[in-house]
Subunit: 332 residues, 2 copies
DNA sequence: GTAGTCTTCTAGATCGTTCTAGTCGCACCA
DNA sequence: TGGTGCGACTAGAACGATCTAGAAGACTAC
């Protein structure tokens, strides 16, 4: 019964309002150059017909698409937070966001191509896995902003969180609480795991303390495994690669009757949803996703509008104190 | 130094290869009607220039866009799973996916409009919050598939999981283990909370058992709160609205020294990531996101290609047995 | 009264594709 | 010899918007 009806075009509205296509275009864009009376007449006609501009045609013709391409990984909760914040910041600055997911069977390169095909004026790539050359290749076409990764060559912008500072804050905090046996459970092959591990080592050594790194990974199970290993030679404090790992560590301690923070302090990284749960109350290093996202969007827009050369923004993370870190137990 | 270079068009390739635009188009699309020798020549030229078709122009001209619009909520991990699976199924059926997120400050209506503007041939909306009239309005333009919600009027397709069956399976399972004091912690205002709650009631009554519903919600904190309430009058089994709620419930029990499943069995819903963790091992009702996603994509494609009238697909969930449900303790 | 300026409007080109309707050779067959 | 069919290719019109250039009319200025 209800056959699919062709969507109305500028032409349809023009006929209905008795004006030219061009004038309708002017009115719809809110551009100056139309009398108030005709403006109303056109708007009425458009409303009546349910007219909406076809973005394909619009984007094709106009040099400016006002589109920011954003890739994210569907399996990373942290990325979802960024997507959310990016939308807000983009629309505040008058841009739209074109999303493209990196999923299983859909590599980053594919996600990026899709965004370019669709006319994105800049690319924001969360934790890019592409090598510097490939990134540079794209950067010759449009401004590219790397989010959460900073060694990306000098053709692409980067917005990242200062892992050095983050780990330093973590070590400082624990040392300040009187800890000296502070171990680190690393993130295995995860992005920025290497840097955090090395920073942990140097920060410990700088304070005359003995660094001990236990191999881990980005998930709860990884933390769980590391927790088992830690129990053989228990430190007084643990810095986990991230919150999920910290959760696994704590779980393994709990099972072994080791109490937190009385026996051992645990510090997470990311200040994620999990850390905030009332029954977790994990002290954590916050990278502040919304701020990072806003900075990335800002950087992309600046590059599009203001030219200039690429640069890198580094935000300093901060400690969110909760209940899993406390003074070191009296030495045994 | 490296000025942003205009991306090559069909025309550029045509000139380089010494043929017409139309022929290049034919070759690039892999359409028949070009000699093998020229085909190679054109492909070489295209590769040399780094040519990629501009999807805006392509979509504008061709009646078929082969685009499936998919809305999802950036804050729902369950949606991420679906996105992942949808990509796979769509590309298997020769379609692309256009993503649009529902985020804070970006309502569903906005997300849908974006998808239509971009030329999506069908809409897949995960857990739509729009009312039946608004959905029908869109359904007059393109096929609309509602995922995870089924009372959507007779103009739109729906693919959902059978909540009746899911809860029936849950009750069956627990009754089979000898439980009779089975309580339900509901999902508050969350989608499908009402249905699960009512089904729980009727299923209990059908078996001559007394239903007890404790108000909850979709998050861990909600479960935590419900857990406190439950402790005042402890059942032998609890059916949670979802896994996250179950986690909160279990956490509250653990704090009170109530052991699972010895004292009380807990059953989750969704079979999410959390349920699978080695230290959680939550028995749960699985809705099988990948299968739902595949069904939704399939339905959308069928509607686009084969016409026919809208219909609804209902998938039966199944029980995933782990360690949080066990025989009822001997009656006191 | 003519030129200049402003406002309001329009015709037509244009963006980069795809599609329609050819043209051009050339072999085949009666 | 002269249609006919076929394969390879092309010119030009779409698609639905934006943009440029300029026209028409009203109003001011000298």
């Amino acid at each position: 019964m209800s056959e699919l009806q062709r969507r109305p075009t500028l032409m349809d509205v023009a006929e209905a309002a008795g004006v030219s296509r061009a004038l309708v275009s002017i009115v719809m864009r809110g551009a100056p150059g139309a009398a108030e009376s005709t403006r109303q007449r056109v708007l009425d006609a458009a409303r009546q017909l349910g007219y909406r501009a076809d973005s394909r045609a619009r984007l094709l013709r106009s040099s400016r698409t006002k589109l920011l391409g954003l890739t994210f990984s569907s399996s990373q909760p942290f990325h979802a937070e960024i997507v959310d914040a990016a939308y807000a910041e983009a629309s505040a600055r008058g841009y739209e966001i074109a999303l493209s997911a990196v999923a299983s069977g859909r590599p980053e390169a594919r996600a990026i191509e899709t965004l370019l095909d669709v006319g994105a004026e800049a690319l924001i790539i969360i934790a890019p896995t592409l090598n510097v050359e490939d990134l540079a290749l794209h950067a010759r076409q449009v401004p590219v902003v790397s989010l959460l990764r900073d060694n990306v060559g000098d053709l692409v912008d980067s917005v990242s969180s200062d892992d050095y500072a983050g780990i330093a804050i973590a070590v400082d905090h624990l040392v300040g609480l009187g800890h000296s046996r502070i171990f680190h459970v690393d993130g295995g092959t995860a992005v920025s795991s290497d840097r955090r591990r090395e920073t942990y080592r140097t920060e410990m050594i700088r304070r005359g303390l003995q660094p001990v790194v236990v191999p881990g990974g980005p998930g709860e199970e990884d933390g769980m495994g590391a927790g088992q290993i830690l129990q053989a030679d228990l430190p007084t404090a643990v810095i986990a690669f991230n919150d999920r790992s910290a959760l696994g560590i704590m779980e393994s301690f709990r099972a072994a009757g080791i109490s937190i923070p009385a026996d051992v302090s645990v510090l997470g990284y990311d200040d994620s949803h999990f850390a905030k749960l009332s029954y977790v109350q994990l002290s954590s290093i916050s990278q502040d996703a919304p701020l990072l996202a806003a900075a990335a969007v800002g950087r992309a827009v600046d590059r599009i509008e203001g030219a200039k050369s690429p640069g890198s923004v580094v935000r300093t993370p901060h400690l969110v104190l909760r209940k899993t870190t406390a003074r070191a137990p009296a030495a045994t």
